[in-house]
Symmetry: C2
DNA sequence: TTCGGATTCTGAATGGTTACAATCCTGTTT
DNA sequence: AAACAGGATTGTAACCATTCAGAATCCGAA
């Protein structure tokens, strides 16, 4: 039903090659250019991307694998990636692993089958072996937010350790010594941030008390429960570091519910603001991630790899990997008291 | 680099047609079956979906257009759609409109260009004209969550009016007469829910006071500000209806901050629970949407249309449209006081 | 031998791109 | 003025990986 390049040929009397050339930005005589344009207009012609993809061996589509679509963080990054890609005329095929590595493996295989030009992965974690099908097919991959411990790959991550350490140092400078952390050590970023917390405490010669380390996962629920536990301690810390947005939310809810106010009764430093910031009477002091930069840089590096591959005639090899480490910045709220 | 069906031919000595037939489930002699399987194994052959798509004129990909990827509601629905599609061997091409109709129009065009087999749209709103390219290309479309006012299309929606009316009736049965609503009348679901509120009030012969209708958008911020406004009224309502999850969040935060407790000081009925439910000491009574059903039904109806189209060999015509209206159910929390 | 069902093969088709050959055109040389 | 060089434009035909009618072949039974 939709018109093809052959209809344009019949309409203009030109050859397929000439039309194709013009459609791809080549030079043709002015009068032919007009003929083609008129025919395209008249027949509502649109290039068939599938057919084009078959011969050029490229789909102008990148696969994006996320560990959890329902996560706000993922949402924001997807948004930015989609924006960047659409500027470049690329589409994105999104697959969701629901934090399940088996699913992730299937998803990667699926993307490879769909012949995506590249893959951006916000990995579940675990082993980089899930990416093997992509490597076997010479499809460039860029990691976002998390890295693998067993293999070095192109990646964009946050300076998680420095960020957490910075937050802790700020608390220390403000006079705090008894500092608790609500964290998720088994998650990649959670682990890194805990390590940052730890080294800052150690550098300052401060004790890390066992009951001040509330380990769980990056969720509102964990933040809420952990904060309640902290409030019940006979020897309360004077400050708390929350290592994730979900945890922030839970912390604030628990504080409100217990009618404990910050920074008067306890100081809080969190990670990421998002919509929370619009609502609180006293804004939280948080380490902010440059969310949009994740998406932008991810697309940028991936495109670089895709182009390199084209120049190498399809072979994907380069020496070494690009690891971009984004800086967080401290957003000053009013949730830390000087003591 | 990856092996093609021709490599299988060279390996087995069979013809392309026979191999293709077997690969698509046809009958071949046992010895040939073995040969093919061995060759496939040896060469790691995978069908090239692009080439197959070119000739079968189907991509086994559906386009999903969402009004905002960063919205939790969208995230959950995407998750479910992805799950269903992957069971069927379909992929999803997600495009994000950021609540911008111009972008939505571009996105639809993009999906059409990518030759998706069908489109599921959680529309921004406005005019159904944005879908014209899809109709022109005979691509089936199913609407989720929202409908257009200017054209009837296949859709899955919630019984928004009944849901809101049910919530209000429950408040009325509990003895409330002064009921406020925090809503978003310019959004599709918000409008419907407000209408439900209105008719329930009118049926009960209750007055809708202007200062009890807090109109804005479906956001935490609006819920927060509106609740604060309500608390400042000299003649406070005894109950509040929140028409959206974001609003719920803001309402709870405002109440906590003002140290007004529910249901003692004021009763609250909301929409949707999500992670909020894990956290509150007193759970909110809410109208719950069957989120997963949106995704499931959406995929189901779309597949039905795709198959109908195949049977009609390529023509997309059917008499009438399917409108599935999902029922919400009331989740009893403890946020409503009998008075 | 013939018939007929099952299987296999041939070759066209899908909608484009692209290397290379052919043609056109203009300006320069003889 | 004719011949020619050479760059720009156009056309021819192969190719991409697959599917699918329809023709050809095979094989066992009658």
């Amino acid at each position: 039903m939709p018109s093809t390049i052959k209809d344009i040929r019949d309409e203009t009397g030109l050859s397929l090659a000439t039309i194709s050339k013009y459609l791809n930005g080549g030079n043709v005589l002015p009068k032919n250019k007009e003929k083609i344009e008129a025919a395209v207009e008249k027949l509502h012609y649109q290039v068939n991307e599938i057919a084009r993809g078959l011969v050029t061996n490229s789909t102008r589509t990148v696969g994006v694998s996320v560990f959890d679509v329902t996560d706000v963080f993922n949402g924001i990054i997807l948004h930015e990636i989609g924006l960047q890609l659409s500027h470049l005329g690329y589409g994105m095929l999104i697959v969701d692993s629901s934090n399940d590595q088996t699913r992730e493996e299937k998803n990667i295989r699926f993307l490879v089958n769909k012949k995506v030009d590249g893959i951006i992965s916000l990995p579940v974690a675990g082993s980089s072996a899930v990416l093997n099908p992509a490597f076997a097919a010479d499809i460039p991959v860029v990691l976002l937010d998390r890295q693998y411990r067993d293999r070095s790959l192109d990646s964009i991550t946050l300076n998680n350790r420095e960020a957490a350490a910075g937050a802790v140092n700020y608390l220390i400078e403000s006079g705090h010594k008894k500092i608790a952390v609500i964290c998720a050590r088994k998650e990649y970023t959670g682990h890194e941030r805990y390590e940052g917390f730890k080294s800052a405490m150690e550098n300052a010669g401060l004790e890390i008390r066992k009951e001040y380390v509330l380990d769980g996962n990056h969720s509102m629920e964990h933040g809420y429960n952990a904060m309640h536990k902290i409030l019940k301690l006979h020897d309360r810390p004077t400050a708390v570091l929350s290592t994730n947005y979900g945890i922030n939310l839970g912390v604030v809810m628990a504080l409100n519910e217990a009618q404990v106010s910050y920074p008067e009764d306890i100081s809080v430093v969190g990670f990421d603001n998002l919509m929370l910031s619009n609502v609180l009477k006293t804004q939280l002091t948080v380490m902010e991630q440059p969310m949009e930069r994740f998406g932008q840089k991810g697309v940028e590096i991936l495109m670089q790899r895709i182009n390199e591959k084209k120049e190498n005639n399809g072979s994907l090899e380069h020496d070494g990997h690009i690891n971009i480490v984004l800086s967080s910045r401290m957003h000053m709220g009013g949730s830390v008291k000087k003591i």
